[in-house]
Symmetry: C2
Subunit: 212 residues, 2 copies
Amino acid sequence: MGQNPNLWLDTLSPRLVAKRIVKRQEILRSAAAAFRRTGYHGTTLEDISACLGMTKASLYYYFQSKEQILYECHRFSLEMLLDRLSQVQNSQMAPGEKIRALVKHHVNIMIDELQASAMILEIEALSPALRAEVIGRRDEYERGFRDILAEGVESEEFRGHQTKLASFAILGAINWIARWFSPAGPASAEEVGETFARVFLQGLRREEPPQG
Amino acid sequence: MGQNPNLWLDTLSPRLVAKRIVKRQEILRSAAAAFRRTGYHGTTLEDISACLGMTKASLYYYFQSKEQILYECHRFSLEMLLDRLSQVQNSQMAPGEKIRALVKHHVNIMIDELQASAMILEIEALSPALRAEVIGRRDEYERGFRDILAEGVESEEFRGHQTKLASFAILGAINWIARWFSPAGPASAEEVGETFARVFLQGLRREEPPQG
């Protein structure tokens, strides 16, 4: 994942770097929540800095533009997804277990990180180059996910669904979590991940899963 | 569904009423596509009228505000969903067949009507009264859907999933179609509906479905 060097890292002490990373995360979370409330186009840098008790000028120290914030929200989520994908791809798990691991991780990201909003934020608002990069990484994740479904169909663990449509069904259900999940509601991230993984694995598998 | 009388209907001849309904539909479709491209907040009434080759003044003849257009987009989709729900509820179908019918109808709405965008449009932009109405109808649909899942668990056609989370998974997957479906792509609405219904029914059912 090291292809995207942040140049500023080189010019700061390790302690300052760590502090800055934490602060940037905090800004991304807060911005993602604001985008979700009032839409990307309806949110200003002033709104974001006000929510954080910062001045707009100090916000500029971390991010140069609203577009950069939107881009970093996407990049952050996608890197976490792609990291886990590559771990799973390099593991010895059976396809069903790989899908379970990815579904649970993805659900966690939707619920716990960036307040369940990054993946559903508009990408249309990004300039063509950034949009292409985000779409490229998203496609990379979707392709990896689909390949595991195809692997499971080949090994006859899964039924012969159209893997492309089946993967859209699963990933769509997960991304949609951002629209209904409430941290104050009755279901935990753990429960949502477990139920989703179970429904989908049963939908995919030929036979009864090992432990219901 | 007749609880929402449109007062203007009473003052026009039947031919003009029909013409007006068609034109309103056309405006909703075009507006929904514009909201999808540039976001609700990023779209002006001028943008919408320009796409349709209308003046802003003639657009006002059909809709009083951008908010009303957004509201009508939601109302249109939700009425179609609720109509089908009540047909299905009053039928003698088994729960699995009810779910299959609803999933296929919902997929069709996402793909064919309003260019797959109405259900995913922001509802946060609506004023509290309209938002409450839209949310109320959406909840009505979700409750009906969930009741059918519970019916299937009770009759032991379905496994004992958490029906609330399972219904969110299914409805979320369908709503997400708006984000990836392209009319120019390889899958038809029919195929998407069929695959989704199959994956979900297999995820829900205890045994092998009757015809694969």
